[in-house]
Amino acid sequence: MMTDPIAIARTSILEPAGLTEQDLDRLLGLLAGSAVDAADIYFQSSRLESWVLEDGIIKDGNFSIEQGAGLRAISGEKTGFAYSDELRFPALAQAAEAARAIARIGQGEQVRIGEVANKRSLYDPTNPIASLPDPDKVALLQRVDAEARRADPRVREVVASVVAVQDTVLVLGDDGALSADVRPLVRLNVSVVAEDGGRREQGSSGGGARADLDYFLLEDRALSFAREAVRLAVTNLEAGDAPAGTMTVVLGSGWPGVLLHEAIGHGLEGDFNRKGSSAFAGRIGERVAAPGVTVVDDGTLPGRRGSLNIDDEGTMTQNTVLIEDGILCAYMQDKLNARLTGTHSTGNGRRESYAHLPMPRMTNTYMLAGERDPEEIIASVDKGLYAVNFGGGQVDITSGKFVFSASEAYLIENGKVGRPVKGATLIGNGPDVLTRVSMIGNDLRLDQGVGTCGKEGQSVPVGVGQPTLRIDGLTVGGTSA
């Protein structure tokens, strides 16, 4: 088995299209030139397989192949971009000329194509689609279905799905540097409907990683997702109206870190700050969070959904400290925004596919642990909300206002977790919400590998995490005023 990503990328992308080293050289010559400040070619071959169980049977499956190349030429702040799903030289040459028209003049320079060795292996360059025989994938979903139905008699409907992706990318920079990454990604999801008397509720759970499908067989993972989905649905069957107004909120560890992603993450992306459209623009060195709050964006965690060996511009990912002890230290950068603001890429240049332009995006964004016992944090609150599971969120990076929607929450009364309340949206102001963090738990946890972030119509897999947090004053959007 080949384990060198560049060798895999050559075999799976360049060779079938008949593209030689000389062809790559000629393409770069067409694309880059004296009036072009930067250029790159992004080759991609992506295979995805999914299976869906519903009504207790394997109902559908899909296999999909996407491949193509995106060619980009940058002159100053101008970007020319064209892509092709045909990888033969004439189609790519046509795309190169279209992308390059942005710069209009200049002569192509000769560069030497040179491989950049991949020094890092955060995940194996495997093909997860082939990692488990098809009958075993089907059997896995059937076990998940049985576990969910066994867990509680009130379960009426179960939908389970498993998705495996092998994404091979090859990035050719204008300096001739050729780097590659083979990115496995697997995900399993369970969604159940529980009914009791006249009430119905849904619960969903799942997880994923950059790994083979046996990831779900280890540590009872798949079945624990089934039990968790059922627990959520039946908990919500009992939920009362959520409170409305500004109150003390305790956020659970792990996935509630979506708070960080929305409240500060997007606002610290380099493009918004270069353009001055972020509420955080020009605030490096200022206090944006309470003492003790340290937040990082770390693309180097082994096997995580948001991790990458190299980003989509060929830059090694890194662990970037965004906020240290409450002080804003850095933005997340891709090459374009780094060059225009006189700094370096932080390995955050990401794109949904070859048909999209890269931009600064998060990887795994999380807050480091503090010293408080989570129980001590809850005990410190007289009256408030304890929110432990969330759906998605959204932010307006200019006004700084952000929301995230709780899907499992409880009232806190006299320092004790009380009755469950219905899901509610929480809203706050990004630049000041972290200044209201008054207690930080010692229980840092990352999410289970389910996050997908959307920005300007492009989706990429990401991770979040945090310890249990107490926030003094967050607006809870319930109905009970």
Partner: protein, 449 residues
Amino acid sequence: MSIAATEDTAERLARLKQTIEDLLKEAKRRGATAAEASVGSSAGLEVSVRLGEVETVEHTRDNGLGITVYFGNRKGSASTSDLSTGALRDAVKAACAIAEHTQEDPCAHLADAALMAAEIPDLDLYHPWHLGVEDAIEIAAACEDSARGYDPRIVNSEGASLSTHTGIQVYGNSHGFVSGYPTSRHGLSCAVIGQEGESLQRDHWWTSARAAADLDSARMVGERAAERTVARLGSRRIPTCQVPVLFRAEVATGLIRSLVSAIQGGSIYRRTSFLLDHLGERIFPDFVRIHEEPHLPRGLSSAPFDGDGVATRAKDLITDGVLQTYLLDAYSGCRLGMQTTGNAGGVRNLRIGMGDLDRAALLREMGTGLMVTELMGHGVNPVTGDYSRGAAGFWVEGGEIQHPVEEITIAGNLKRMYAGLLAVGNDYDYSGSTRTGSWLIDTMTIAGE
């Protein structure tokens, strides 16, 4: 210029139809008892201008095909972006391999042959815009200029973008149905940033149409973006309260989208809808009529047939406040023991009957309350209808706008909100496939200070 193939549209359509025929033949050769396939090919140009300078010029070209094979009542599907002969064969092979492991599902089959669209009306959806890169840049720049020149408080910009796309979609199945048609879509959008004191606000506006001549002018889009941005400056919070809420037209469409997803066949048979068992029931006040018009000429969602090849037809979703139909495709129809409604792939061009009240009259009708112009987040529970979302808008007293509002949530339950709809205005003023005026809802909970 665009790098799209210069091939004639009729030739491309014929070639894509041939691709479908080839796929269906290959599926049959591999033993499939039935099959269906769709293929699409599109090309376009997108330019963006920021602070008067070109920011991006993107040439887009997308191909894709999907095939589903049936072996009796077992199915499998595959898709690819590669339309070469070898890739087509691989896709069929992959779909057949999947079908070896899926299980018998009595509803896994094509729609009845008798339901296939017999006539394909020309819905006037294809109006290519032969636009050079320079011209596109000029229009986007003019749009941004009118936004930046609108008010001195507009201090920054996220730019203006112009896009133009043409494409062809073809669908066919083993009933012998193969049909397709070309479409076009053009759009212009602009987003700017305003400042007043410490407060920064951003807002945007857009226009979208099948024909370039139907787009709003660059100047109008720019000015509207600026007007909306400036109006938000000085936003503040309001105390927690329960008041009437006016959803301005462009956000009222979201309330119709929630209705559509709740009456989709999949939500009904999976029991994930708050409108389960509501067919024939009154869910709105009796003045409400919501009508689907799939054959609307130049409509942004118009289509002569649905994703199963079934003829689309005009119908009421709501008449006199009563739910008339679910939105079914062949599969969900079979699951519910009902006939497909020609809604495979969704709903196409909705209109709600509009009343006599313009926006000023609606505000007077509301008296004191909140007018919402932006919603944030995904806080709608489809199973229960519980609704809780971030919002921005304007505080209204005595029918007059008092000040802009932000960092609040609005909450309620969709069933109660629909029943509590007091009026629909005649103030439709945006380009989208759902046409509605603003909605005045009797009461919701606002969470704020």
